[in-house]
């Protein structure tokens, strides 16, 4: 870090010198270049994410923008990369990431993966008790008859995800969860083959999705927010984004 930092300050000083010569009193900007610089940290560099995802990736009031903090770095990187190349389509994200280098995206992913801000309060449920119960069953046991695995079989017993590529589902709002399951179903969100979430999402009915999303969003925070270690579980089937 010493090298680039040194270069940076040289850069700034030479810039200030050039500006002082080239730009006359007309420019107040030149005077300010004597020092004030943003902190040389990743936190400062990713403040562009804050209005939608929160300063620490904790999420915001907007129920469609997900929490990033504590999700496995591999998962976050896969998403950033998918937005960069346009495989995952959400124009505001595609636009922000289009001209960033994969190394930088990796750094961003690791930064948010390492944060542990508290989870939001569980979402008060607006669905019936029966539907909530149905959601709990699908999440924790799946539906053997319909070949639907339990969410917990991949996303972890405590639903905090598994390193390196499977995201936690805690701390997400029901609207975001159902929008994403819908996106997998209709192909606007996809992952490297075999696209396991696409397979699962295709087997769910509208009612299943509502039930699963409502129950997940109503969960209280687990004691440990960290994802389970790599290889903690044998996945029920092969998943392109989680190398076994």
């Amino acid at each position: 870090m010493g090298g680039p930092l040194l270069n940076r300050s040289r850069y700034i000083f030479s810039m200030a010198a050039v500006s002082a010569v080239a730009l006359t009193t007309q420019l107040p900007g030149a005077a300010a270049q004597n020092g004030a610089q943003p902190p040389d940290t990743i936190a400062a560099r990713v403040l562009g994410c804050a209005p939608c995802h929160g300063k620490e990736g904790e999420g915001t009031q907007d129920v469609y923008f997900p929490r990033l903090a504590g999700k496995p770095a591999g998962y976050l990187f896969n998403q950033l990369e998918a937005f960069r190349v346009g495989r995952r389509k959400y124009p505001p994200m595609n636009y922000l990431l289009e001209f960033q280098r994969p190394d930088y995206l990796r750094t961003m992913a690791e930064y948010f993966a390492g944060l542990r801000p508290p989870l939001p309060e569980p979402e008060p449920s607006v669905v019936s008790a029966d539907l909530l119960k149905h959601g709990e069953t699908l999440v924790t046991r799946g539906d053997y008859q319909r070949n639907i695995p339990a969410c917990t079989s991949c996303h972890g017993q405590s639903l905090t995800g598994i390193e390196p590529g499977i995201p936690g589902l805690v701390g997400l709002r029901s609207k975001y969860i159902s929008a994403q399951i819908g996106a997998f179903r209709y192909g606007t969100r996809s992952a490297p083959e075999p696209d396991c979430m696409q397979l699962v999402a295709a087997r769910l009915t509208e009612q299943d999705v509502t039930a699963v999303a409502a129950w997940l969003a109503s969960r209280p925070a687990p004691a440990n927010l960290s994802p389970a270690a790599k290889g903690s579980y044998a996945l029920p089937f092969a998943c392109g984004s989680e190398p076994q």
Binding site: Y11, I12, S14, M15, A16, V18, S19, V21, A22, L23, Q26, L27, P28, G29, A30, A31, A32, Q33, A36, Q37, P38, I42, A44, R45, V46, L47, G48, C49, A50, P51, C52, D62, V85, G86, R87, P91, P92, N94, Y95, L96, L97, E98, F99, Q100, R101, D103, Y104, T107
Partner: protein
């Protein structure tokens, strides 16, 4: 009318056919490693990759959709695959395409291919690019049919367009200027095809030479490509050479940063140029920037409304913007651009300033700035009134000489395409 057009098409083809020299044997083009290497460099300078490689697609295999006001064009396969790419082209045919905008079968290229700029490229440079393209992995991928609306799907219309807007001819050095200036002009006007965006485009999709580099709204993208000749826009006449070089090479500078379509150009092309070439471009760009004041711009926003905008604008600015851009718009250059006396904020078109507030943006990742600082999007936190107010505030405060913008202006740009 149709008859006339077909007749002129035939005449044009006949003339061209007569004037094209018989194809030279391909062996005449050197494929020595240093030539191929230079060709790769020149292909970077021409930013071929930006259009001829689709997202997640194979290098130079084409297929990228390019929306235009006339319909969607799809870029072509320029890999050396003999069936679907340009594997069977001779160097003569490649030069003819670059120089005249005609493919080997004498078909007329749509001017989405910047042949009106590439015509300035020397034969030697064209041959080097040709030699390089011969070495990239061949990809078998059929070109996709263009999807143009009537009447634009009639290729004969290109003849009329060419008559109005195309001047064929290699770059002619200006003996009054230095070798460095001429090198810069060659790159900016030729391979760099900067005029494609930075020259106003009329309803026919043409840009006239007399208005070269005067700036214009990029069709379909709704970004404003500022004038390169007017110092009140992106004219670089009162910038230092160092600041211009920084902007082109690193994407950020003491005077401002690049976002949107220009971030693409820096990311894919300009950052790879040699320091000498970047400097040459800077020297040329600085020379064409003129200090003449722009025509007086007047606002149609009533004075009282303007005052209201301004006071709301200050509130929004202090709350959301001042922590990075400073109480007096001084910024923390080069990472947080200054807003005071920033031409891209003062200029007549407020499109870019409004879009930056709505969508935010990251300058491109470059060797010199691999982890850029980013501007957050405020589209979902600020109302149209607040966006208009804060943009008005930064356009008229600290001695900035822009004019107020309205909530309707802000609202219109919420639907501007982002990809």
């Amino acid at each position: 009318m149709m008859v006339l057009r077909s007749a002129s098409l035939m005449i044009a083809i006949a003339i061209v056919a007569a004037s094209v020299a018989p194809a030279r044997a391909q062996s005449n083009v050197s494929t020595a490693p240093d030539i191929v290497h230079r060709g790769e460099y020149l292909a970077r300078a021409g930013d071929c990759i930006a259009c001829h490689t689709a997202p997640e697609g194979k290098l130079f295999a084409g297929g990228r959709a390019m929306p235009t006001p006339f319909g969607t064009l799809y870029s072509t396969n320029i890999t050396p695959d003999p069936q679907t790419g340009i594997g069977n082209w001779t160097a003569d045919q490649f030069y003819q395409m670059m120089h005249t905008g005609r493919s080997p079968d004498q078909g007329l290229l749509y001017p989405a291919m910047p042949f009106p700029s590439y015509t300035k490229v020397t034969r030697e440079d064209s041959d080097a690019i040709y030699a390089y393209l011969k070495t990239v992995p061949p990809v078998r991928q059929q070109n996709r049919q263009h999807d143009l609306r009537f009447p634009y799907n009639n290729r004969a219309l290109i003849i009329g367009w060419r008559t109005l807007f195309f001047n064929e001819g290699e770059y002619k050095p200006n003996a009054q200027q230095s070798a460095e200036w001429n090198r810069g002009a060659y790159l900016v006007e030729g391979l760099g095809h900067c005029g494609m965006c930075h020259t106003p485009i009329n309803a026919l999709g043409g840009s006239s030479e007399s208005q070269a580099f005067q700036g214009g709204l990029i069709p379909m993208q709704n970004w404003y490509a500022p004038s390169l000749t007017n110092n009140k826009e992106a004219g670089l006449g009162d910038w230092s050479i160092k600041d211009i070089v920084d902007l082109l090479r690193t994407g950020i500078s003491a005077r401002g940063a690049v976002y949107g379509p220009m971030a693409e150009v820096v990311y894919n092309s300009l950052q790879y140029l040699t320091p000498e070439d970047t400097r040459a471009m800077a020297v040329y760009l600085k020379s064409i920037g003129q200090g003449s004041p722009p025509p007086k711009v007047t606002s149609n926003i009533p004075r009282t409304e303007g005052r209201l905008l301004l006071s709301l604008g200050k509130t929004v600015y202090d709350q959301h913007c001042a922590s990075c851009h400073g109480k007096n718009g001084e910024g923390m250059p080069p990472n947080y651009p200054p807003l005071a006396h920033n031409q891209s904020i003062e200029m007549e078109s407020a499109v870019n300033a409004i879009r930056m507030v709505l969508n935010g943006g990251y300058p491109p990742g470059t060797d010199a700035n691999p982890k850029p600082y980013g501007m957050p999007p405020f589209g979902q936190t600020l109302s149209d009134d607040e966006v208009a107010a804060v943009v008005t505030y930064i356009r008229v405060t600290w001695g900035n000489r822009g004019v107020p913008v309205s909530a309707a202006d802000a609202n219109r740009l919420r639907s501007a395409p982002l990809d």
